[in-house]
């Protein structure tokens, strides 16, 4: 009886609620207002679109979204590759230059990213067939710059797999830069007269990429960018060196002053990189001070100890005074890195003197040595910083209730007790 009554009441109530919309004028807008507001709105919209209106350009990204929105979820999983293939087909038949721009906002992890990559591959293949090495270098520099921006965007969007996808972009960036490197070598050998042009492009783009990578790094998502940054810097140095060599061989027309300025820029870049490393080292030390948890840091031997210190001396196995151990471990790594940076300063001073004596090739060698050392120090600091970040997170999450052993990028097996948390940090 009671349930019958409830059902009757519920039905009655639902009927009344529906009537609120159909019969009750107060909660409905006046028709005259609806119409006048519409024409007012249309006027405003037309004003906003006069300048920005896109005339007839097909945007495949939106078409892709539209198609996917039409299909139910389960079916969508099945037709997803079909849509992607259809779009690739559409792009192949409608001209790759226009289409590449239609997918320019696609990020790694999205299906249309495959379309973007396919378009770029077509572009690269065409340049390889018809273009010069100079064109190839330019194109791949552009690709590398896009990858850096993608990595940054992915990290900004903050999806759960963002670091993984950013890493995909960085990996591709490294590949593109490698191609640029090869192209520089080829230009140096076969078309030395074009080397200046290539160098200028490399200089411009690598500066931009370095800046973007730095921004990716600052998002603190644990994406390793130090290896990529190193490759980018090395490429710029290789281009400078190529100019110096071709100039000395008399194969390119460029004034002494211009080449000098180039080498001096390489010196000042390396100096400022050293400054950055020091800054990062200070931040890391500061961060480590905040952690109260006992931590043992085992850094990668091949990175930090390559200069003079013998391997495996920094493994700190016993923890008697937890916080001081943490700080001590971080401090050792950071101090070594800072010391290394200081040493590079001497190399750079030598390089400056060599430039003054017009020994540009020798100066470049000194710069390269200094850059290598700075990169190594930077990588070491980066790794310890990532480690400290991971630990800070763990401590905040209260996941770690006991000792944390951090294994930084090493293949050496680490034996830990059952009460110990091991955090493996594998930052590039």
């Amino acid at each position: 009886m009671a349930s019958k009554f409830t059902k009757f009441m519920e039905k009655n109530l639902q009927e009344q609620l529906k009537r609120l919309r159909t019969e009750y004028s107060r909660i409905n807008p006046g028709q005259s207002w609806v119409a006048s507001n519409r024409s007012k709105l249309m006027g405003q919209l037309n004003n906003t679109t006069i300048e920005t209106r896109n005339t007839g350009k097909i945007n495949f990204h939106f078409i892709y979204q539209f198609c996917s929105a039409l299909v139910p979820n389960q079916l969508y999983l099945v037709v997803k590759p079909v849509i992607a293939i259809a779009l690739i087909g559409a792009i192949a038949t409608s001209g790759w230059i226009a289409s590449a721009s239609a997918t320019e906002n696609c990020l790694p992890g999205e299906v249309c990213y495959g379309v973007k990559m396919a378009a770029e591959k077509t572009q690269a293949a065409m340049v390889a067939m018809t273009g010069t090495q100079k064109d190839k270098a330019k194109l791949h520099l552009e690709f590398a710059s896009r990858r850096a921006k993608e990595a940054k965007k992915v990290m900004e969007v903050k999806k759960s797999d963002a670091p993984k996808q950013a890493q995909v972009a960085i990996q591709k960036l490294e590949e593109s830069i490698q191609t640029v490197n090869n192209a520089i070598k080829a230009v140096k050998e076969d078309k030395p007269e074009q080397i200046m042009e290539v160098k200028q492009e490399v200089e411009k783009k690598t500066d931009e990429i370095k800046q973007t990578l730095k921004e990716v790094d600052e998002t603190s998502g644990g994406v390793g960018v130090s290896e990529a940054t190193k490759i980018v810097k090395d490429t710029n140095l290789a281009a400078t060196e190529a100019v110096v060599v071709t100039k000395e061989a008399g194969k390119v027309e460029v004034s002494d002053a211009d080449v000098k300025i180039m080498v001096e820029k390489a010196i000042s870049d390396t100096l400022s990189d050293g400054g950055d490393v020091k800054e990062q080292a200070e931040i890391t030390t500061e961060m480590a001070k905040q952690i109260q948890q006992p931590i043992v840091v085992i850094p990668a031997p091949e990175i930090i100890f390559s200069s003079s210190t013998p391997t495996s001396t920094i493994v700190v196995p016993s923890i008697t005074t937890p916080t001081s151990t943490t700080r001590a471990s971080v401090k050792i790594v950071v101090d070594l890195a800072t010391k290394q940076v200081e040493e590079t300063k001497k190399d750079l001073e030598t390089a400056k003197e060599l430039v003054n004596n017009n020994q540009l090739f020798e100066a470049m060698q000194a710069v390269k040595t200094a850059t290598d050392a700075t990169s190594k120090a930077s990588q070491a600091v980066q790794q310890i910083k990532t480690a400290v970040e991971v630990v800070t997170e763990k401590v905040i999450d209260s996941v770690a209730s006991s000792t944390i052993v951090i294994v930084v990028n090493t293949s050496t097996p680490v034996i830990v007790t059952s009460t110990t948390n091991t955090v493996k940090v594998n930052s590039k």
Binding site: E10, L17, L20, Y24, P29, N37, T52, T55
Partner: protein, 197 residues
């Protein structure tokens, strides 16, 4: 798949139901910044949005201002942003919700609703008092107002607007299960209040 899309692009009005039309209009707005297509979306949603806003602010003038602002904001977002939007309904209601929140924030007070029927009725709609049925509806509306915000929203969207659970979930950014549970609780509470009167 693309072929299917193209078919729709060429024959818009003959074969399509409203859902697909909406998606097409949305696509036209986003790719071609087409005000006319947006006009159709306006026609399809203005009343719903107005009711939704009116329900929350309780005054005709303010509901009108906010509703027109909602469409202007929606347009701006659609033409400037690349982010995927699965359904226009979900999107435009979210904009409306945010506009209402902004409205109360700007006024510097918590949400409040007219609970004084005499004032509102006397001012705006004298005619309806003559009809007994309207009195009944007025009473129901005031009863709904006694529910908490979360319940009011689902009751309005489900029973007044007759939207599907999945549409409501999209609008409120909740799971369908969550919407069902909220709806069940809201219905129970509403029945209690109606029964008590």
């Amino acid at each position: 798949m693309l072929f299917r899309c193209n078919t729709f692009l060429f024959y818009p009005s003959i074969y399509m139901n409203l859902g697909i039309k909406e998606k097409l209009w949305l696509l036209q707005v986003r790719t071609q910044k087409d005000p006319e297509a947006f006009g159709y979306l306006y026609d399809a949603y203005i009343e719903k949005i107005y009711r939704f806003v009116y329900f929350k602010v309780g005054s005709r003038e303010e509901a009108e201002d906010i509703a027109s602002e909602v469409f202007l904001k929606a347009w701006g977002y659609l033409i400037e942003n690349d982010k995927e939007i699965k359904s226009f309904a979900g999107f435009v209601f979210r904009v409306a919700r945010n506009q209402v929140i902004d409205f109360y924030r700007a006024r510097g007070k918590r949400q409040e609703f007219f609970l004084d029927p005499e004032m509102e009725i006397g001012k705006e709609d004298k005619e309806f008092r003559r009809v007994e049925a309207n009195q009944e509806l007025e009473k129901l509306l005031l009863t709904i107002k006694q529910l908490k915000q979360e319940y009011q929203e689902v009751v309005l969207l489900r029973y007044v607007e007759e939207m599907s659970i999945s549409e409501i979930a999209e609008i409120l950014s909740k799971s369908t299960l969550n919407v069902r549970v909220t709806l069940h609780r809201a219905g129970k509470k509403l029945r209690e209040l109606v029964g008590a009167e």
